[in-house]
Symmetry: C2
Subunit: 280 residues, 2 copies
């Protein structure tokens, strides 16, 4: 028996088609949806990701401005640019790309992005609103995980969900999204004792740590549905996830890397931007 492939391609294509229609309506009105991406790094992977967002935005009929402040940008400079974009009525969504220069904290800087334009849920206020059950944009990656599970009709209510990783951008908001869908949620991390035993409790397992093949077949219960958020570069230039693909031999489902959470994340960023533009 082999696990179902929890592909994100079909779901992402559906979201993009919806976004294209809505973006066309906005463009026809003379108020095109506009996403601004602020970067302050020379990191290659970041540059690749920003290009992929800009390309996806263009194909979907959104405007996308990349503001590269350079790897030596100060915290004040970055905050001022975010505040400027937040005040610009022609801009509907603002993303602060990581990594940032030493001394800059993304969670702190993202406070300059108002919740209405915070399309990647980076402002702590967005996270708090989400946790309180009030309207807010969730971080796109966390939302992509839940959307992918729902697209593949994996039941969540009353199920044991185990999230491996407690980051502010994925693990923590994901825990809230899963709780909201009535899963019983466990959050594991680097200090968890006997990680394999805890993860084996999961009927749904999400790996969001950033360590290649951290989860092996011994971590996964038979029939469990596994979503792999990791994107770890290999020496030979490929991307691999946090989950050893061998878990597919007994899991109920496994999302591929690439082609799982990634395309859904990008599509959701665009959808958030169009939603923000529609409300503007």
């Amino acid at each position: 028996m082999s696990a179902a492939v929890l592909s994100g391609k079909e779901l992402a294509a559906g979201i993009r088609a919806d976004v294209r229609e809505r973006a066309a309506v906005l463009a026809d009105r003379g108020t095109p949806a506009r996403l601004a991406v602020v970067t302050a790094t020379a990191d290659e992977a970041s540059a690749w990701y920003v290009r992929s967002i800009a390309s996806a935005a263009g194909k979907a009929g959104l405007e996308c401005d990349v503001r590269d402040l350079g790897a030596d940008a100060t915290v004040e400079r970055i905050r001022a640019e975010l505040a400027r974009l937040d005040a610009d009525s022609a801009v509907h969504g603002v993303i602060l790309q990581t990594p940032l220069p030493a001394g800059a904290r993304a969670e702190e800087l993202a406070r300059a992005i108002g919740p209405g334009k915070d399309v990647d849920g980076a402002n702590p206020l967005s996270l708090g609103l989400l946790a309180a059950g009030l309207p807010a944009f969730a971080p796109a990656t966390a939302e992509a995980v839940v959307s992918l599970l729902e697209h593949h009709e994996v039941p969540l209510s009353g199920r044991r969900a185990v999230v491996v990783g407690r980051s502010t951008v994925v693990g923590k908001p994901l825990a809230h999204l899963l709780l909201d869908r009535n899963a019983t949620v466990t959050v594991c991390h680097s200090r968890t004792a006997d990680l394999a035993a805890v993860v084996r409790e999961g009927e749904v397992v999400v790996a969001a740590v950033g360590r290649a093949a951290l989860l092996t077949p011994g971590h996964i219960a038979a029939g469990a549905f596994v979503v792999d958020v990791g994107t770890n570069p290999t020496p030979d230039g490929r991307l691999v996830g946090d989950v050893d693909p061998a878990v597919a031999e007994h899991a109920g489902g496994l999302s591929p890397v690439p082609g799982g959470v990634g395309p859904v994340t990008t599509a959701l960023l665009l959808r958030h931007t169009v939603e923000a533009a529609e409300r503007a």
Copy 2:
């Protein structure tokens, strides 16, 4: 063998003593620490709780203003009062008491309390800052649970902690506080399948549901430390917790109700107010 009593009285007395000293310094300077409590309910239990806070504040040398807006106060009236208090430089801490009139949401209204005066961590921004590891006041009850465990030297790092209840005021912020202390955290709720089996995984268990004796001896692993946040009134006028006291027969420790989390919560509210006043 009988469980250790995780009393909150000694810890609360220590916090109050510290608060008294700091409040005296502020009063000597002519800038007494001042807490404002906004209520809009005829609820008896709420009135009792507000009186107990005001009394504790008075004994510790803090000023405490209770603003009773009446059970028919509108959302606009409550929000305006919170905004007024937030802007009043003589006020250092603001609490919005629940229950509220029908149609009013505490999480939404508490956005009017800036994080610097949000001494009960009710503003979603405070919760988001907490989750992001940035400075903010935690909800006093959630912080009291962790303080009580630390006071009784219950180890948290690497331990399995199970939180029963997913409220915005206790369960969710508590999950973040426990994660921050490197516990592996599971959050259960009314839709959890086989609650007893999940709770038995806990080396530390926190009950914050508001249902008398929800957790019975069958829910608790031998040697587990149990903190009872529940305060449920009985027909004969007593208060009982969410945990059946019979669990003490095999638990490692159990906090009493009353006399456990409650006094620590009140003491922490006062400490937060003094901290806010010292920064003002």
